[in-house]
Symmetry: C2
């Protein structure tokens, strides 16, 4: 049996998932990972460890320290708690793409089925208050096109991949979240870019040759087009998952309203509380899928 | 006084370097970082800690554990040993760009001058034996153009930045390296792409809709154009450093010859030894600049 998205990958071929440090000839992927139904991803290692503990406590009622399956490498972390695989993807699409390739292969070797990918992110809000959780129902690049386009993807050739978001999945996540949470949750378009500073119109990076007025006009354009948040990975998430045949969703909390500032001004405890809001959104959704109330 | 590449950044404005976790109103940047003359970067946290220890031992003769100035965050690490700043940048240009923006600002607040950036990488060699150290004398994207081009860099607009490599700096590093090292060092063109698998013609990613023959032709094209290695960050390194007014160099060790395989087949001890080869190349160069023999 071969992987559908790559006929060169055979089920029993043996493989070294290089950036996860997992040798499939040494690790019984099917035994360990076969029951995985959700892959939850986020940028930061510490935040994803915190999420693994959170899921452990809230879904499984245990407070064990999660085991890091990627312990042989410092590139990514990888936890599993029940049917949920949890990893960090670093910053930006290239870093995410390496992780996704290796997790797709892991799920294939484990012969998993019906797996849903969810990114739990932090983001800059556009016209939404800090602390708001945004569920992406549309994803665009910096030019506001729903296209993932890189010069150097396939054998050096540019490829454009049209991105779509699964409307049913968005509705399902939203319905369960808004019933059970006390904070504000909205749906909207996510603008996904390749840089934290210039691409997001910040005036406080090391490089800036545009003016405050340019920045203002950029944000107005984003607002006119229904953009609710800016971040750096969702375009890659939706494109890669779609190509590999997986459903994906993106849930991010706004750490600030970018119409008001370039950097979060809230205190660290408040930011930490906000960072954990997508945890509850995902927990509610997973509970509903697993029929645990 | 303002930063030349961004007039909004003032010397005494106070700044929170968010992804480094450094608050310039709490940390005396000038006192700590003013003597920095070299910024050495690499992808992996562990490798850069190892490099910081290596420099500490070989340049300063001490075996102290380096202090991580970015200890408040898990995004990057940041060490300083003598006039050398050492950090990891993660995988890919977006991750590198966040780090560079914040280091450029740090150097500005510290009022440093004549700083040289050096990336110590690992890479896939093109027609060079595993273990060979490649010093980049030309950098191109996957389409073999010396252009850094992203859809979403500046306020959502695509910008193309022509990249150039400092020929004098390449010569200087090469001359000092080849005199003092026992391993093979070559100069050549680096092809810098946004993905580890498809963009580098690997057949062992989760996604592959090209054939072995396509892969062969891609590598032949790279060879005809003088490409000696493939990696994921140098296009961003040269572009961002040039825009910020810094010289940059790129030294990477080939962990395999991509004409022969997709993944390293050598044993882990051999790979570790190879990974440290750029350490010696950089050490020799820095010694020569500091007039320590």
């Amino acid at each position: 049996m071969s992987l559908k998205s790559n006929p060169y990958i055979k089920l029993n071929g043996g493989d070294f998932l290089y950036h996860l440090g997992i040798d499939t000839s040494q690790v019984n992927c099917k035994e360990i990972f076969h029951d995985v139904k959700f892959v939850c991803l986020g940028g930061s290692t510490n935040r994803m460890l915190k999420f693994a503990k959170f899921i452990n406590e809230n879904l499984n009622g245990n407070s064990e320290e999660p085991y890091n399956y990627a312990y042989k490498t410092d590139r990514y972390c990888l936890y599993k708690t029940g049917p949920i695989l949890i990893a960090n993807h670093g910053i930006g699409v290239p870093s995410l793409s390496v992780l996704l390739n290796e997790i797709f292969k892991l799920l294939f070797y484990a012969q998993c089925s019906d797996v849903i990918f969810i990114r739990l992110g932090t983001c800059g809000g556009i016209g939404v208050e800090a602390g708001t959780v945004v569920i992406t129902d549309n994803v665009v690049n910096g030019e506001l096109e729903p296209i993932f386009s890189y010069v150097s993807i396939k054998l050096g050739k540019r490829i454009n991949i049209t991105t779509t978001v699964d409307a049913d999945l968005v509705r399902e996540i939203y319905d369960h979240s808004s019933q059970n949470n006390s904070f504000t949750i909205v749906r909207g378009t996510t603008c996904s870019v390749d840089c934290f500073y210039e691409a997001q119109g910040r005036l406080d990076g090391a490089l800036c040759d545009y003016t405050e007025e340019d920045r203002k006009q950029f944000f107005e354009k984003l607002q006119r087009n229904g953009v609710k948040n800016l971040e750096m990975e969702s375009l890659g998430l939706f494109s890669y998952c779609h190509r590999a045949g997986y459903k994906a969703a993106m849930i991010a909390v706004a750490l600030l309203n970018r119409l008001e500032a370039d950097e979060p001004t809230s205190n660290i405890d408040m930011l930490k509380e906000w960072e954990s809001r997508p945890f509850y959104t995902v927990l509610n959704f997973i509970r509903s899928k697993l029929d645990i109330v």
